[in-house]
Amino acid sequence: MESPTALVSLIIGLPLLGFLINGILGLSSTAYRSKKTLIGILANLAVFIPFLCALTLFLNFDSESAAAFAHLFTWMETGSFSVDIAYQVDQLSLIMTLVVTGVGSLIHLYSIGYMAHDEGFWKFFAYLNLFIFAMLNLVLADNLLLLFLGWEGVGLCSYLLIGFWYTDMSKSDAAKKAFLYNRVGDFAFLIAIFMIFETIGSLNFEVILTSLEAFSGNDIFWIGLLILIGATGKSAQIPLFVWLPDAMAGPTPVSALIHAATMVTSGIYLITRMSPMFVMSPEVMMIVAVIGALTAIVAATIAITQYDIKGVLAYSTVSQLGFMFLALGSGAFTAAIFHVVTHAFFKACLFLGSGSVIHTMEHVEHKLHDKGKDVHFDPQDIRNMGGLRKYMPSTYKTFLIATIAIAGIPPLAGFFSKDEIVMHAFNMGFGEYAGAMYFILWGVATITAFLTAFYMFRLTFTTFHGSFKLPKLINGTEGSEEYLHESPATMTTALWSLAGLSIVGGFIGLPNFVSKTFGGDGHINWLHEWLHTIAADIPLTLSGTAEWALMTFAIIVAAVSVYIAYKMYGNDQQEESDAWIASKFGPFYRVWKDKYSLDELYEGAIVHPTVNFSDKVLAVFDMKIVDGFVNAIAGTVRISGSLLRYIQTGVASNYALFLILGVILVLTILLF
């Protein structure tokens, strides 16, 4: 294929341009800020045109094409160290670019409606465009440093957007928390970059991946581990996942775009990109898989106990990301990317659906205020909702479709990707590469899949089925259901598009064994074919029968889970059912409800000791010894300066005397 420079420049450049136009004009002109239609259109085009460009590239590409490079300019060059602003177009980066710009476009569209009444409309879209720019840098970069630039860029945008309503203290705290947890991971990632550069003197992916033999086994282990720590920060895995639930403080489109569909998957992208390196170290693979499985079940158990509609979705995201890590650790890199794609569709749809619900609940609150009723309630609490399907049918239908998709009911998108992951985990239990540990992980994954279907349907039933509960719970809200309404067309368009994708998205990765059973050539998994040059997958060795059995088992698990959820929550029994679970699981339930007390643990184990040490030891050292030393020097210097002033008598003959002394000095040095 011909050089992609022009198209890549457009893909990268337009979001940046959009950011600059909306940012600068918005900053400098209050008149511009009120032109919301113009701002929205500009911002949308800045993402949609890149999507079309990416689509063009995609259509000119096939699974055997070699990577194409777009070298824009040399960023920095000192000695042997040279970094280019250069982009790599290949099968993996194209998939990611399509997801980012495609889902990004839909969410931009949705945001026009969602943010319509916000004062910071222009700022919001400027940030969103900046985020897209950074994210595209991350997925398209042809070297680690440029990737790191994007990596930090998305971190920054995430920070800015979580704290978008920064006047609310808890929201700006959440932004800081996200940023700090990310920094921990970034630090590890940076060290990994140093180690790679130290060993082979280049940060270029092509060079790194073709000179892997230059690394010792030890190097591979540590680099892999450090990259993993970096990825756990960005992709919200144990031990660094606690920022993501708090990140829901941002506007809902942000949660959908950044904290569900794109940014949080960048860790998965990075590991997939480096997959030839990871498969060289079974130990690291095992750690990745364990972290993934553990995160998946921990987050899923917490999700069961949550009442906040976005909170459930946030823990669900963490849990699904855990699935992806399990896939990575099981050598199923394609499956991980597959799940990234399908998850982007249904999770974005879920978040936008929740945004639609929150939107209407806030509307109810405003209307009540307009009527002079001083009532306050949490517009995100599912206990206040119920029966919404009557009032917002589009939202309900799309939400339900996405829920079915995430629950793993065939033939919707989530089923195929999740099934592939679980199957790979089981497969890893055999063979020389790994060990029986993977059977346990498979078990954990299956339980998590059960829990996923359960808590998602609990959420859907509680929100949309039964009757509207707000008037029963809070005085003064009688008759408030008349204010419930469906969201505007820009929002439902996005919802329906994503719901559609959630239905058909799975077909890019149909399981090969199905084809084999019916006498096909076993190549119906398109994604697998597409990525085979990049993802260093460990192949499945299971027999066709075993695979059928596993799949059937997975379907049964999901179906049973949905049935139980329907029985427990299908008809206004949320309160009793939750109480029943709490009594059945007792201490476990409390642990889940306390979110495993991780925040308190970090607070007690890291934050307090650090603060105490700084306060009691470092501060004293700083004030008494460091400052004292510095002040002493400064004082000495100043005093000697004042003393030296007295030489300057102002009498010309004294000056001449000094001149003579100088002559003597010079001649003495010269002659002796």
Binding site: L644, R645, G650, L659, V663, V666, I669, L670
Partner: protein, 479 residues
């Protein structure tokens, strides 16, 4: 027509001299200082063009080896002319306010510049001496411009007395050198030099003369008094152009007359004087409460840093000195310019640091620019002053003079205090009373803005990297 070629090689100097004659004749006949001003600007600008042209031309000697052209000399001429140009453009408005604006001032500046140009290209001790005197005598007159003020008369008299004294040493040194080597031409001296008593004494006294002009410790005593008593923009001229010219002459003497370290231990002399200059200059500057006087001591300190480059005695050092002169000219002309702007608003007392309280917010652009210049003088990146300091200190390290470089860096660190102190007053102190400053004139303001932009630009993008300056220097050894 060898004669015409000779003239051509000193064209910038000739143009400036003719412009000077024109300036005083215009004053005598038309009594129009503005016309003189225009002629001055034009003359310097044209001379600058020729100097830049010769910078890119070949290097050689002219007037039977009396002067050099191209190479270091051309670079020196460019720096001197830049200094003169900037000082003249900011002078008009300032001198008008002091009621000192007349054609003779420009004549004197131009004649002085002629001397500086001669100094920057001198290849012979006679040329050096005559140029030095041409420059100095005009500067004595300029120092006494404020002749009705006590401080002005004091300034001129002190400068003249001590200047004459030091010139005596210089001339005596030249005589001794001639006695030892029977030559005044720098290269001929280098060929005939032996480390005899006579020659060493001669060199020492020659150095003393030059040390005096660049205000190195302990020959610096005149500087604060003279700088304070001279109209500020003229001070800028003295501190930039005159100092640059003398340093270029110093480089010429060191590279052409003393290329071998076997002829006397002049490197030690430079080291000792450099250390003294840096320490004393910076320490006394710390204790100053008058901004103009503080800048005078700061200019002494900067002479110390420059001397570090000379003491390094290698090509990197000389190249560093040349680059530093360029940097120093830009940032110091700017700093004095802003000081002049503040001063002329409320008389001479306005140079006391107390009176700077809260000034930064009065005319924001001026406050910001003063901050830029002071940051640059303090050697804080990304300003051009940092690059200059980096070059000279790096050269010293390269030459193995690590203690010297360390003292330089420490002294430079101490200097941050008194530069930042001004900014503290500008921005962090409350103004004593309500008053408003004059609006700066168009030419004045934009000259300063240009200087500030250059200060930052060359700090971010040093387009004169050491390598091309090194080529200049080494092209010079082979002439």
């Amino acid at each position: 027509m060898n004669y015409l070629l000779d003239l051509q090689s000193f064209l910038p100097g000739i143009i400036v001299a003719v412009a000077g004659l024109a300036a005083i004749m215009l004053e005598a006949f038309k009594k129009s200082a503005n016309t003189s001003f225009s002629v001055t600007i034009g003359g310097i600008a044209v001379a600058l063009l020729f100097a830049i042209q010769s910078l890119y031309g070949e290097a050689g000697t002219a007037f039977s080896g009396m002067i050099v052209y191209g190479g270091v000399g051309a670079f020196g001429s460019v720096v001197v002319l830049l200094g003169a140009l900037f000082c003249v453009t900011i002078s008009r408005e300032y001198l008008r306010d002091l009621d000192l604006h007349n054609g003779e001032v420009y004549g004197m500046i131009l004649f002085s510049t002629t001397g500086m140009l001669g100094l920057a290209v001198s290849n012979d001790l006679i040329t050096l001496f005559i140029s030095l005197e041409t420059m100095s005598i005009c500067l004595y007159v300029l120092a006494g411009l404020m002749k009705n003020e006590k401080i002005g008369a004091e300034s001129a008299l002190k400068y003249f007395l001590l200047g004459a004294f030091s010139t005596g040493f210089l001339l005596y040194g030249i005589a001794l050198i001639y006695g030892a080597t029977a030559a005044t031409n720098l290269t001929e001296i280098a060929a005939a030099a032996q480390p005899t008593f006579l020659f060493l004494c001669g060199t020492g006294l020659l150095f003393v003369g030059l040390f005096f002009k660049v205000a190195a410790v302990p020959f610096h005593m005149w500087t604060p008094d003279v700088y304070q008593g001279t109209p500020t923009t003229i001070t800028a001229f003295m501190a930039t152009a005159a100092k640059s010219a003398t340093f270029v002459a110093f480089v010429l003497v060191l590279t052409r007359m003393l290329p071998s370290s076997e002829i006397g231990d002049w490197q030690s002399v430079l080291q000792v004087v450099a250390i003294l200059t840096m320490i004393v200059g910076n320490l006394i500057a710390l204790a100053q409460d008058n901004v103009k006087r503080m800048l005078a001591y700061s200019s002494i300190a900067h002479a110390g840093y420059l001397m570090v480059g000379l003491a390094a005695g290698n090509e990197a050092g000389y190249a560093g000195v040349l680059y530093y002169l360029f940097a120093y000219t830009i940032m110091n002309a700017g700093a004095f310019g802003v000081i002049a702007y503040y001063e002329r608003n409320h008389g001479l007392d306005f140079t006391e640091i107390d009176s700077y309280a809260g000034l930064g917010f009065k005319v924001p652009v001026m406050g910001v620019m003063l901050s830029v210049f002071l940051f640059s003088l303090a050697g804080i990146p990304p300003m051009v002053g940092f690059i200059g300091k980096y070059y000279v200190f790096a050269a010293a390290v390269q030459a193995g003079l690590i203690p010297l470089a360390i003292i330089g860096v420490l002294a430079s660190a101490a200097s941050v205090y008194y530069y930042l102190r001004v900014m503290v007053y500008l921005y962090f102190k409350e103004a004593h009373k309500e008053y408003s400053l004059k609006t700066p004139g168009f030419l004045f303001k934009w000259t300063l803005i240009l200087l500030a932009v250059l200060t930052v630009y060359y700090g971010v993008e040093p387009v004169l990297p050491t390598s091309s300056l090194m080529e200049l220097i080494s092209s010079y050894y082979t002439v």
